[in-house]
């Protein structure tokens, strides 16, 4: 053990609760990577991960939402099996063609959080449906823009090629996720505020 003579600096009450939520949200993102649904509109299965990004922004806000996504990425980089298909490792974040999608998660969660909460963190259940949908559409655009940019950079593809390989078959499912997120937020099923 290393030794230290500094006095103990306790983590404040509010920060502990937010930290615990960010941790559990990051772990939930990892668990969502294993949950896939058949997509009625396209051959690519739907995973819940992007839904997790939306909900992180909506429920944790523009600061702790991205913090949770960052935790998810770092945990995956050092070996927690949280990326698609249970993959892990720094190589996924630095070299894989889909790295753009992963790096976009904190940005998209921040954008969704800002859109829903603005500057101060309020009760997300008061947000109107158009605001929720608009925030998530912006989030989706960020995720796919960075994702396609990643494909173009890593594999040297052109825009149309990258769009065909990385967005065309997945985009229809995003509408389902936005609908599901609105349903979750508007229902009283979630106990925590």
């Amino acid at each position: 053990m290393a030794t230290s003579n500094d006095s103990v600096e306790l983590v404040g009450d509010e920060a502990v609760v937010n930290l615990a939520r960010a941790v559990l949200f990051a772990a939930l993102m990892g668990a969502f990577a294993f949950v896939s649904f058949p997509n009625p509109l396209s051959p690519a299965p739907i995973t819940l991960q992007v839904l997790g990004v939306f909900l992180a922004g909506i429920m944790l806000g523009p600061v702790w939402g991205p913090a949770a996504m960052l935790l998810y990425l770092v945990a995956g980089a050092v070996g927690a099996p949280v990326f698609a298909g249970g993959a892990s490792g720094l190589g996924v974040l630095l070299a894989e063609p889909t790295l753009g999608y992963l790096w976009s998660y904190p940005v998209a969660a921040a954008a969704v959080g800002l859109g829903v909460h603005g500057g101060s963190l309020g009760d997300y259940r008061d947000t109107s449906v158009p605001v929720l949908v608009a925030a998530m559409v912006v989030g989706t655009v960020i995720i796919y823009a960075l994702g396609i940019a990643g494909l173009m950079a890593v594999l040297g593809l052109g825009f149309v090629e990258a769009f065909t390989a990385g967005a065309a078959v997945f985009l229809p499912a995003e509408a389902f996720k936005i609908a599901a997120a609105v349903g979750i937020v508007r229902s009283d099923a979630i106990a925590a505020t």
């Binding site: 600096e9 739907i46 945990a75 720094l90 070299a95």
Partner: protein, 234 residues
């Protein structure tokens, strides 16, 4: 699944920070030298890393099987063009080299995952990232490792219960809502319990860290990362 396995191989004994640095410089060198000659040298290096961690390339590749279809399809998509000559070999070759570079990077990071315990990774993060962000990331990563299997089994139980009640016949949006809601509720409930437990144990921003020390073994590895870094720039 690709996870940490205890052992005493050369890679196990290296400092986690050295291994992280090696991965980053390896990727930088691979991006700078995506040529047949550069990748041939890096292939040799990858074989060396795999041997140092006693990781078999087949088992490591199997862990990344979900990434492989895209890597294989990349060159085909890139080579195809609308109109004559329909297939441009040069572009396909370029993308094939890029795909191969990705495979090498994934194999190298598999060695890290196989030979580094979450506890070591946590310490490496807290000692590398200064201040509260480092503490947050270190603590958070350790807790994510702890809670990931718990939430996975939570979700599996929810899905089993749904299937038993023919819930998997419902429309997709409804199923996604049900699974996500149940997952979120369990996650938030666990978060509240965890927060209480952390407060009861006086969670601090400056806890005493487990010791981490560079050994003589790290010196050649750090020299190698320096060489890779220089080769990426020059």
């Amino acid at each position: 699944m690709l996870t940490y396995t205890p052992g005493d191989s050369l890679a196990h004994r290296l400092d986690p920070r050295t291994k992280l640095l090696l991965q980053i410089t390896f990727v930088a060198a691979a991006v700078a030298h995506t040529t047949p000659r550069g990748l041939a040298i890096l292939t040799g290096l990858t074989a060396l890393f795999l041997a140092a961690g006693r990781v078999s390339p087949q088992s490591a590749l199997w862990e990344f099987r979900y990434a492989l279809p895209l890597l294989a399809a990349g060159p085909l998509v890139s080579g195809l063009t609308f109109g004559a000559p329909w297939f441009v070999v040069n572009e396909a070759v370029e993308t094939a080299l890029a795909s191969y570079r990705v495979v090498l990077a994934l194999l190298v990071s598999a060695v890290y995952v196989r030979t580094t315990s979450p506890r070591e990774s946590r310490t490496a993060i807290q000692r590398t990232v200064p201040g509260k962000p480092g503490q947050f990331l270190g603590m958070g990563v350790a807790l994510v490792f702890r809670f990931l299997p718990v939430l996975q089994s939570d979700l599996a139980r929810v899905r089993e219960a749904m299937a038993a009640r023919l819930g998997d016949e419902r429309p997709v949006i409804e199923r996604m809502q049900l699974v996500a809601t149940a997952g979120l509720n369990r996650a938030f409930r666990r978060a509240d319990t965890l927060a209480l437990a952390l407060q009861a144990r006086c969670l601090a921003w400056n806890p005493t860290l487990p010791e981490l020390r560079f050994s003589r073994l790290d010196a050649p590895a750090i020299v190698l990362s320096a060489v890779l870094a220089v080769s990426a720039v020059v």
